[in-house]
Subunit: 195 residues, 2 copies
DNA sequence: ATTCTATCTGAACGCACGTTCAATTCAATT
DNA sequence: AATTGAATTGAACGTGCGTTCAGATAGAAT
């Protein structure tokens, strides 16, 4: 029989994922046991297997959901006109998205090694697709003469590293507001590519 | 009695550290067993405890040695004259040092979570000291009017992230020589701070 | 040849892990 | 009140972990 709306299973699955995300981000995939995750949502370890086939799949789902949401959210932006403004838009988008999901960002960048080879290949493809979103903007600006870039690929990787590195030091309620961070990084990025 | 030069113990210790570094970098601290490390140098697990008190100390020593060597090497540079050239020197130094030690760099950035709190504090202090080396150059150049920087700390973190991110994509024998990488990043960094 | 000592092994310890599953609980349906 | 079936438990499985240590080994010193 189909589950009724509001049944337990419709909230337990996500709660497990939330707990796993938080714990994996805090201590690392290998250091968190299924018993810990279960305890976090008030269950015993065995019950988790009602919601995930195994621990590896739990990790993959978290990373895959994150990357899929990231790519979908960027696809859903209305492209600003001109490489200049499109690049600004990318910076703002990236910082917003990442500041709102520090745990998922941490996972996506730290736990690649703990994925099975097949799962790794999938996530790696998505990561590459995201890099290509930025590279497309740079190439476009380069072609139009808006930007002056010596090596598009290297600049792409440098900017992605710079932007993603925010998670190393940014803290909610710290010295800088998200808006200030955006302003500062828009400036840094603009300088890096300016003609 | 003091060991003679060339005795086994004077080469086994470093060999164990080399093997541990390689394996930790490849698979992560938690995923590598003492038995694996021992096998890599032709020993059984028990013998490792002649050379390290425990696995945690083995990890800490690797990270601490790396950070200490990094800071000492930078201190040993003859300071170039002027913020402009000093910054170029820092970029060249950082890229050189990191390209030569990809495993140690990987460890130092990925395994902080697996350090005990006391050990973490020590490494974190060293990391901060290294960041301060770059920040000092930026502040100096800002004061002298050589650079135009809106937020010195943020720019420092952005540049460190950009430079360290090289390890994500750089491979020996790849498309770019280390010299070419240095040239490209010197240019990116110069643009980021230029007046 | 014997002693000595640093080095190393092999077995064991207790523990925690991911995962399975028969038995139980519990809420919704009849 | 009885029935049903999904949700959950609790115990167990086999495995591998970090670490210890009594005993074996082997190379240098006497």
């Amino acid at each position: 029989m189909a589950r009724k709306a509001g049944s337990h299973a419709e909230t337990t699955g996500p709660a497990i994922r939330d707990a796993a995300l938080r714990l994996f981000a805090r201590s690392g995939f290998a250091a968190v046991s299924m018993r810990e995750i279960a305890a976090e949502v008030g269950l015993r370890a065995g019950a988790l297997y009602l919601y995930t086939p195994d621990k590896q799949t739990l990790l993959f789902d978290l990373m895959h959901n994150h990357m899929t949401a990231l790519l979908a959210a960027w696809d859903a932006t209305r492209p600003a006109v001109g490489p200049d403004r499109r690049l600004e838009q990318f910076v703002a988008f990236h910082i917003d998205f990442h500041i709102e999901r520090p745990d998922a960002v941490f996972l996506a960048y730290m736990e690649l090694r703990n994925l099975s080879p097949e799962n790794f290949a999938i996530i790696e493809t998505q990561r590459r697709a995201y890099e290509d979103c930025l590279e497309a903007i740079l190439s476009d600006g380069q072609q139009k003469g808006t930007f002056t870039i010596k090596d598009t690929r290297v600049t792409t990787m440098a900017l992605i590293a710079m932007l993603t590195g925010i998670h190393v030091w940014y803290r909610d309620g710290g010295r800088l507001t998200p808006e200030r961070v955006q302003t500062l990084y828009k400036d840094l990025v603009r300088r890096t590519v300016q003609a």
